[in-house]
């Protein structure tokens, strides 16, 4: 039975990495895809553990007075809580989404001569195997923190983070395995599935405000983890312990049924009440644009559309605290952040396109034309975000020269879409999904493509060329990036 569970776990991790069942593309080398999927799992565990270890080190060094920097216990508790949960949720959701709409693993299990308790056991063991490395690494860190450093803060944060992550996954799994019968319910479910993982993104973004929470008020006594981080009092310790025990109990109780439902995830098994309407046949670009948006909003990736909106709202909020004299540089610095955010929706569309990539690639569409709707979305997103920033700047009394680089900056995000297109095509032609190293590389390159024109703007300003010339310089550099990447996309011969 252990062998079956191990084989199923390997298949889940492999599908989470290649998405081959959903995309229809075969990995060029199955051996290396299997190896990469395992490395991906190992890397997730190593990266999250290393980050937690770093925070742990900073916290204890700061507490011991070895650092000039004062590390807030609340911030450490929240970061450790979020990181320990984030990697677990990501590994599980990767596997679960790759299985959507395919019942082949369930069919396989039920064709084996197993009793129902054995089926349950195999399911639990295989789902557990997806996150075993993370769990072992985190628990080791938690114990290290408790017994070596003799502090419960990191221990509580890790354990509560893991328990909450498993509960989050259980909630996601339950929402996704519901047989939705009406459109409203389906939309609600999709929204929940999209928004829940955003909680982690928000936690990372809101670390600064969190770390300034004062011990006064209800948080001091009742909110799990925060109570202990804020006061460290016996009541807070007891309260945190109770929370951890209750959450752990519920998470473990629900894990069995969740593991079983893992293999029976339906995929919007829904008949849409379509109003009688004629055929809507449009041009290829508009049709692809419509399809791209539909695909994203009908998948878990809708959250990647919502995340930039939330982050943009935070940037605008932070603008209030900026001194008038710093406005020019801050305006462009925030402008770069928002420009980067505007590339995210297009990136998420490529991720959504992974499902059904085969269907799109047998249609008469060049890669450049496939990228066009995504470029439109990136430019629209750019002007929505930057537009809000421009309005905020104008209200603060900024002149036209302050906002000129923002108005002229849309070609950078457009170019970054083409860059993602190149990486995406190369990845799916080799039959793999965007693994963590490739995703990080893609993100880094995207960052460079978006930020480079702004860097030239700053360089021109420092050389004393003036805001108008600096902005034009920025425009020329982004246009060159766009032209170069468009040339690569157009000339890249498939096959």
């Amino acid at each position: 039975m252990k062998g079956v569970a191990r084989a199923l776990a390997d298949e889940l991790i492999y599908q989470g990495y290649t998405v081959s069942r959903a995309s229809g593309f075969r990995p060029v080398s199955v051996q290396s895809a299997i190896r990469n999927s395992r490395v991906n799992k190992l890397l997730s565990a190593v990266v999250s553990s290393a980050l937690i270890a770093l925070y742990m080190f900073l916290y204890y060094e700061s507490a011991a007075g070895q650092l000039r920097l004062r590390v807030s216990p609340v911030a450490v508790a929240i970061v450790v809580f979020a990181w320990s949960g984030f990697s677990v949720v990501m590994m599980l959701t990767m596997a679960i989404y790759s299985l959507q709409g395919t019942g082949y693993i369930r069919d396989f299990i039920y064709t084996l001569p197993f009793e129902s308790w054995e089926v349950e056991r195999v399911s639990i063991m295989s789902v557990f195997s997806i996150i075993d490395l993370q769990l072992y690494a985190m628990v080791a860190l938690a114990l290290l923190s408790l017994f070596i450093f003799r502090s419960a803060l990191i221990f509580f944060s890790i354990v509560f983070g893991l328990e909450t992550a498993i509960l989050v996954f259980e909630a996601l799994s339950r929402v996704m395995s519901r047989r939705r019968l009406d459109l409203k319910s389906a939309v609600r479910s999709r929204l929940v599935v999209s928004v829940i993982p955003l909680i982690y993104v928000l936690i990372f973004v809101l670390i600064q405000p969190f770390s300034q929470i004062s011990p006064a008020g209800v948080a001091g006594e009742l909110i799990p983890l925060l109570d202990f981080a804020l006061t460290g009092s016996p009541v807070a310790t007891a309260s945190s312990l109770v929370w951890i025990i209750v959450t752990g109990y519920v998470a473990i109780r629900l894990f069995k049924s969740t593991a079983l439902s893992f293999f029976t995830i339906s995929h919007e098994a829904l008949v849409v009440p379509v109003k009688e309407r004629g055929w809507r046949i449009t041009g290829p670009t508009f049709a692809m644009l419509q399809t791209d948006i539909r695909q994203v909003f009908r998948s878990n990736l809708a959250g990647m559309f919502l995340a930039p909106l939330l982050l943009a709202a935070i940037v605008l909020f932070q603008l209030h605290g900026v001194q008038a004299g710093e406005l020019r540089f801050v305006a462009v610095a925030y402008g770069i952040e928002l420009a980067l955010l505007s590339a995210l929706p297009a990136y998420s569309i490529y991720m959504a396109e992974m499902r059904g990539a085969l269907a799109i690639r047998i249609m008469p569409l060049s890669r450049a034309r496939l990228a066009l709707p995504k470029i439109v979305i990136a430019i629209l997103s750019y002007y929505i975000f930057e537009g809000a920033l421009i309005v905020a700047l104008l209200i603060r009394g900024a002149g036209i020269l302050y906002i000129l680089p923002l108005i002229l900056g849309s070609l950078g995000p457009a170019a970054s879409v083409l860059l993602v297109s190149i990486i995406f095509e190369k990845t799916i032609m080799s039959g793999g999904a965007l693994s963590m190293p490739v995703s990080m590389l893609a993100l880094l390159l995207e960052l460079i493509v978006v930020a480079l024109p702004f860097a030239f703007y700053f360089a021109a300003l420092l050389l004393g060329l003036g805001a108008i010339y600096a902005s034009l310089f920025e425009l020329v550099i982004s246009a060159m990036e766009l032209a170069l990447l468009y040339y690569i996309v157009s000339s890249y011969e498939r096959g």
Partner: protein, 247 residues
């Protein structure tokens, strides 16, 4: 000289170190149905994927003398793949609208006639993800046929089809041939290959083993039926005997 619809020469497809197709060559003329037969893993699907540009390959693929079928040239092809290539988060109607839009095809009557022929009307508002395998196959077939392509590429197209739909599809293929269209057809079912195909290429381990009309192939390998010819061509007859005796 009559121009070919599809010419494949010296096609090589590799997956890492593994060679899936090794120097395969064949041509398909107008009004011709070419059957690609072979055992599992022989390289049929890899050949089809290479023609459609879905895997990297070396060698030449030429569609109607215009080069590799890429970009807008793919509009001359209608393909039904072994696993239906569909966008599962769209409804059937949304998917067919997308295909028609991308192919710049607006003959709605033709689409509706195909939808009716494959009895898909009741599923127009259903997400493709929740369709049965047979209905998914029908959607893939309608999307491949709607724009009257010059070349149909069909990889195990009768998979999961009910008897009525299979018959309808066979009639459509026959009409397509009569109108001068070409078909590249991959199947495991010898009876269908024998009935439908004008010429057949039997491949094994990525190489062409024997090629010709059914009669020519049977004559070449001295067999009484296409099934026997197939088994002889891939040297499986003796092996089958040994295997069944060992049972």
């Amino acid at each position: 000289m009559e121009q070919h619809v599809l010419a494949v020469s010296n096609l090589v497809v590799k997956y890492g170190e593994k060679v899936a197709v090794s120097g395969l060559s064949f041509t398909i003329g107008p009004g011709e149905i070419y059957g690609l037969l072979g055992p599992n893993g022989a390289g049929k699907t890899s050949t089809i994927r290479a023609i459609l540009g879905l895997v990297n390959f070396t060698g030449d693929v030429d569609l109607l003398g215009q080069g590799r079928p890429r970009g807008t040239l793919l509009n001359m092809i209608g393909a039904v793949l072994e696993t239906p290539a569909l966008l599962e988060t769209l409804t059937v109607k949304e998917f067919l609208e997308l295909v028609a839009s991308v192919r710049r095809f607006n003959d709605v009557k033709r689409i509706e006639a195909l939808v009716h022929a494959f009895e898909l009307e009741q599923y127009m508002g259903t997400y493709i993800a929740s369709l049965s395998q047979g209905n998914k196959q029908k959607v893939a077939i309608v999307s491949a046929l709607m724009h009257r392509p010059k070349l149909l590429i069909l990889d195990e197209p009768f998979n999961a089809l009910d008897v009525k739909s299979a018959r309808v599809f066979k009639e459509i293929i026959a009409n397509h041939k009569r109108d001068g269209g070409a078909v590249l057809f991959s199947t495991h079912i010898m009876e269908i290959a024998e009935k439908l195909c004008d010429r057949i290429g039997i491949i094994d381990r990525g190489k062409m083993v024997v090629e010709g009309t059914t009669a020519q192939i049977m004559e070449q390998v001295h067999a009484g039926s296409l099934e026997d010819a197939f088994l002889k061509a891939i040297h499986a007859e003796e092996e089958i005997k040994e295997l069944t005796e060992a049972l």
